[in-house]
């Protein structure tokens, strides 16, 4: 009976192989698909069963996990939830995660490959993986100033360190409380989320990096950069600056916001045109340079590029094929030009960094469960937007905007020691629709020599003209600059 027993053994071996192959398929090859299924509670329980790492500003956690005695073991709490919502995002049972909670999830949960050694140890010891920490580039004082300044308004602030691209402040207003969205009560989460969705102020939009607004006169910085780059203009070049500019190929005219000519005899130098925010001179300049030169210059500053900071920012854009009158209006940041606050801060930062635009970034360090530093972000160049000579000229032009032009609110900024700081800036006002107040902008750079901070403030529904932009967005920019320099 040996032969049939051997045959039976062969058959049983085949069954054994089938079982092993099948279970290998489940646990290795289809495991990810099974884990991704929406009714798989294990993923959730596992995520909430581990201590998720903190999101840090300096050494203080703005998001951390707190142990509870519920079925979901760890609760996510945000110390200054609304102020940092634009950075941290939320971590919700119902709606998933946003912000750094989403982009840095691998590190925060401890499943990143960076933790290979830790995980090996945990594997041998049979421990649960612990999450690592994420240190942001945010400077808490600058952030606080921006948050206080924006309170009650609808808008955004982004501040960047020009030499590196580090984001020092990123604030949205109105904001939301991530504590509620990250709670363990699905009903409360849903109710609050529905409320936020229904809110006409749209607090869930990450305004600093996602909201696209016409940049208005702040775009004149780009037009001026293109003018200097063309080699045909210097800050002292004289441009026509009448009270009204007849748009080419059309019977429409463009007026200065003052209603007056920009200089005696309707002529003005480039530096004065910027200082006074002379629409007619810049419209004329736009047509002289052409749409392609403007677009190329804007792209050198980062338009048409989607930045991941690592949160995904909207792409700022310059219109594709504007005709002559549209080019003229685009040159003053109207028509279809759209930019995020992040983008306009990058324009100022690039000018301030000898014309070199740095990649903006929000994550400074990734840390292990014991908070040892595993990786530090190194600054990287996005590209050269201007020659350093032209950049220096443009800084002086921006200083003129503060010292004798429209950004008067930034005069007299001092350091902690009371030293006067030269600040460069540009105001902007842009109409989004006829029946709504305009968008007020302030883009600034300080100190003018060796700048430490570039800031863009945008207040939607803000004002009527450059004076009101100065009055509404200006003080916020001033507070942010002063906080950063102290």
């Amino acid at each position: 009976m040996t032969k049939p027993i051997r045959r039976i053994a062969v058959v049983l071996s085949v069954l054994l192989i089938a079982v092993l192959a099948n279970v290998t398929f489940i646990q290795v090859f289809s495991a990810d698909d099974l884990r991704a299924r929406s009714d798989n509670q294990r993923v959730l329980l596992q995520e909430y069963g581990r201590e998720r790492g903190p999101i840090l500003v300096g050494v203080d956690p703005v998001a951390r996990s707190k142990e509870t005695d519920g079925a979901l073991r760890y609760l996510r709490v945000y110390a200054e939830g609304e102020e940092y919502a634009s950075v941290t995002g939320f971590y919700s049972l119902v709606y998933g995660a946003t912000g750094l909670e989403r982009t840095e999830n691998d590190v925060l949960t401890g499943s990143s490959d960076l933790f290979f050694v830790d995980r090996l140890q945990q594997l041998i010891a049979g421990q649960q993986p612990r999450g690592g920490g994420v240190t942001t580039t945010i400077d808490s004082r600058t952030q606080d100033a921006a948050w206080r300044g924006l309170s009650g308004a609808r808008g955004a602030v982004v501040a960047i360190e020009p030499s590196t691209g580090r984001i020092l402040a990123q604030v949205q207003s109105p904001s939301f409380d991530p504590n509620v969205l990250s709670s363990h009560d699905p009903q409360a989460i849903r109710t609050y989320y529905e409320e936020l969705l229904a809110d006409p102020e749209q607090p869930l939009i990450n305004r600093p990096i996602v909201a696209l607004n016409p940049p208005g006169s702040t775009f004149k910085l780009v037009t001026a950069a293109a003018a200097l780059a063309s080699g045909r203009f210097t800050p002292e070049s004289v441009l026509p600056g009448p009270a009204e500019y007849d748009l080419p190929l059309s019977d429409r005219t463009l007026r200065n916001w003052t209603g007056e000519p920009c200089g005696p005899g309707g002529e003005v130098t480039l530096i004065e045109a910027l200082a006074q925010s002379c629409n007619t001179a810049f419209a004329w300049l736009g047509n002289e340079l052409g749409a392609d030169a403007l677009r190329t210059q804007s792209q050198a500053f980062g338009f048409d590029t989607a930045f991941n900071i690592p949160l995904r920012a909207s792409t700022s854009r310059f219109p594709d094929n504007p005709d002559a009158p549209q080019t003229a209006i685009s040159a003053i940041g109207q028509f279809d030009v759209r930019a995020t606050a992040l983008q306009m801060a990058m324009v100022a930062a690039g000018i301030g960094n000898n014309g070199i635009v740095m990649e903006p970034y929000l994550v400074q360090e990734l840390r292990g469960p014991d908070l040892s530093i595993l990786r530090t972000t190194t600054a990287s160049e996005f590209g050269a937007a201007m020659s350093s000579q032209n950049a220096a000229d443009l800084i002086e032009m921006m200083v003129a905007v503060v010292e004798r032009g429209t950004a008067s609110v930034l005069r007299g900024v001092t350091t902690a020691e009371g030293q006067l700081v030269r600040v460069g800036a540009k105001t902007g006002t842009a109409q989004t629709s006829a029946d709504r107040p305009s968008v007020a902008w302030m883009v600034a750079l300080a100190p003018a020599t060796n700048p430490q901070i570039a800031v863009a403030v945008v207040v939607e529904d803000g004002g009527q003209n450059e004076i009101s932009s100065n009055a509404i967005a200006g003080p916020i920019a001033r507070a942010v600059i002063e906080a950063a320099l102290r």
Binding site: M1, T2, K3, P4, I5, R6, I8, A9, L12, L15, L16, A18, V19, L20, N22, V23, T24, I26, Q27, V28, S30, A31, D32, L34, R35, R37, D39, N40, Q41, R42, V43, L45, Q46, D69, G70, A71, L123, G126, Q127, Q128
Partner: protein
């Protein structure tokens, strides 16, 4: 060249008993259980489990007692079977304890009374199992004695199978009528029936195999048995269908029929029995699929469990999620969520282990069974009498089929049927029956390797070296 006669200087060498190897492996198995239990306590935040050292000492004492009995009664028995069975039992107890912890923690969260732990009941069943194991070794010196009780065993097997249908003591749990309830104890008689019926099949087939091996009818080039010899297989088939229809127990039904066909094939060496068996199996399958809703549901759930994720497919879907969560190396004991699968410590104990020990641990467990079956089949090949051969093969095949049906079920290789996982599952009947099965295999293997009774040594002067 001149040939020389080699002197017969040696008498029969006594084979090694290899009992020390068995003892060493038993200590390893026990140690793995200790470490696993400590790991569970640590990972779940319970610290050292309650009554840990007592439990661990009792388990060690039971394993040691089994070893001593084996050393005494069946010294030439296979050295791997006892450690393998012990390791599987302690792994099962570790997982049962781990699920007790999960149930207790859940109860505390919900402010409900903490359920009594299952692991101590399992420990008691383990003690009963070892006792019966010892009794078999003490009473049964020679497995051939069992051949005398062929028909008694058959009768006992059938009665055990039918017991759950007796009104008053039979109980239907989770849709299957395979339980007997006496006093406070419930028992699954099918587990013991499988041993009784294997003895019956072996004894019956040893006698009838020559008749059953005769070929009379040729059909399409295949030699088929004579119609009058078809009786036994038809009876086995009808019985299996009966279990399926009246007790709604797909797993047991499959197990018995598969076992019978395999033993029929081994005893007659005729492939025609396999073909016939497969044909009857196909007919039975189609018939029960068409006739019984519960079979149809099982098959539909098997084909697309996710479509029934909230109803009939819930178990298998949760089981698959558990396996996926475990991945290659597992979550580690105490770190997974095996309690999300219903019946995590009985039918789905392998899914629980697959989640926490991962693919690596799961394959290791399956290989423990594979080695067990391989040792059983080796014993079958080595033993000298045909009854012993058939019995050892039958017992090994029962084990193999049962493991295949349950592993295939929880991993969706085949439709899910309710069978216990030998040694691992929580539950007395299964644990006891499988320990008896191991005892029988040990007796047979002892017989197979035992040296023949010593003959008078031939005096040295009877042979002489012839040299020139």
């Amino acid at each position: 060249m001149k040939s020389t006669n080699v002197p017969a200087t040696d008498t029969v060498t006594r084979p090694a008993t290899r009992r020390n190897r068995e003892l060493f492996l038993l200590v390893v198995a026990w140690g793995l259980g200790v470490l696993g239990t400590l790991q569970v306590g640590w990972a779940t935040g319970e610290g050292t489990p309650q009554r840990f050292w007592v439990t661990v000492a009792v388990v060690g004492a039971l394993a040691l007692a089994a070893h001593v009995i084996v050393r005494w009664r069946v010294p030439y028995a296979d050295p791997l079977l006892l450690p393998l069975a012990t390791l599987l039992t302690v792994l099962g107890m570790t997982m049962i304890y781990r699920l007790d912890v999960a149930a207790a923690q859940r109860a505390i969260r919900n402010n409900s009374p903490v359920p009594s732990p299952d692991v101590y009941s399992q420990l008691i069943w383990f003690a009963v199992g070892i006792t019966l194991f010892a009794l078999v070794l003490l009473i049964l010196r020679d497995h051939r004695v069992l051949q005398r009780y062929t028909y008694t065993a058959g009768l006992i097997g059938i009665v055990l199978l039918l017991l759950p249908l007796v009104p008053g003591i039979g109980a239907t749990i989770n849709g299957a009528t395979l339980w007997v309830r006496l006093g406070g104890l419930s028992f699954q008689p099918a587990e013991l029936a499988k041993i009784a019926l294997t003895i019956f099949f072996a004894g019956y087939l040893v006698v009838k195999r020559d008749a059953l091996a005769l070929v009379r009818v040729r059909f399409l080039g295949i030699g088929l048995p004579r119609p009058r010899d078809l009786g036994p297989i038809i009876v086995a088939w009808a019985l299996s269908l009966g279990i399926l229809i009246f007790e709604r127990d797909l797993g047991t039904s499959l197990l018995f029929f598969g076992l019978f066909v395999a033993m029929l094939y081994i005893s007659t060496q005729r492939r025609s029995w396999i073909i016939l068996g497969a044909g009857l199996f196909a007919i039975g399958s189609v018939f029960s699929y068409l006739a019984f809703n519960h079979v149809r549901v099982r098959v539909q759930v098997w084909i697309d469990p996710f479509a029934f994720a909230d109803t009939g497919g819930y178990q298998i879907v949760q089981s698959l999620y558990g396996f996926a969560n475990g991945g290659l190396l597992g979550t580690g004991l105490g770190n997974g969520y095996p309690q999300l699968v219903p019946f995590a410590n009985t039918d789905f104990v392998l899914a629980s282990l697959g989640e926490e020990l991962g693919l690596a641990g799961f394959i290791a467990i399956i290989l423990l069974y594979a080695i067990m079956v391989q040792r059983g089949l080796r014993i079958s090949v080595a033993v000298r009498d045909p009854f012993g051969q058939l019995l050892a093969a039958g017992l090994s095949i029962t084990l193999a089929l049962q493991v295949f049906v349950i592993v295939g079920g929880v991993t969706r290789l085949i439709p899910l049927t309710g069978l216990t996982t030998p040694f691992l599952s929580y539950g007395g009947s299964s644990l006891i029956a499988n320990w008896i099965l191991i005892a029988l295999l040990l007796v047979i293997s002892h017989r197979a390797r035992q040296p023949l009774p010593e003959v008078e040594p031939i005096p040295d002067n009877a042979t002489q070296v012839v040299s020139r």
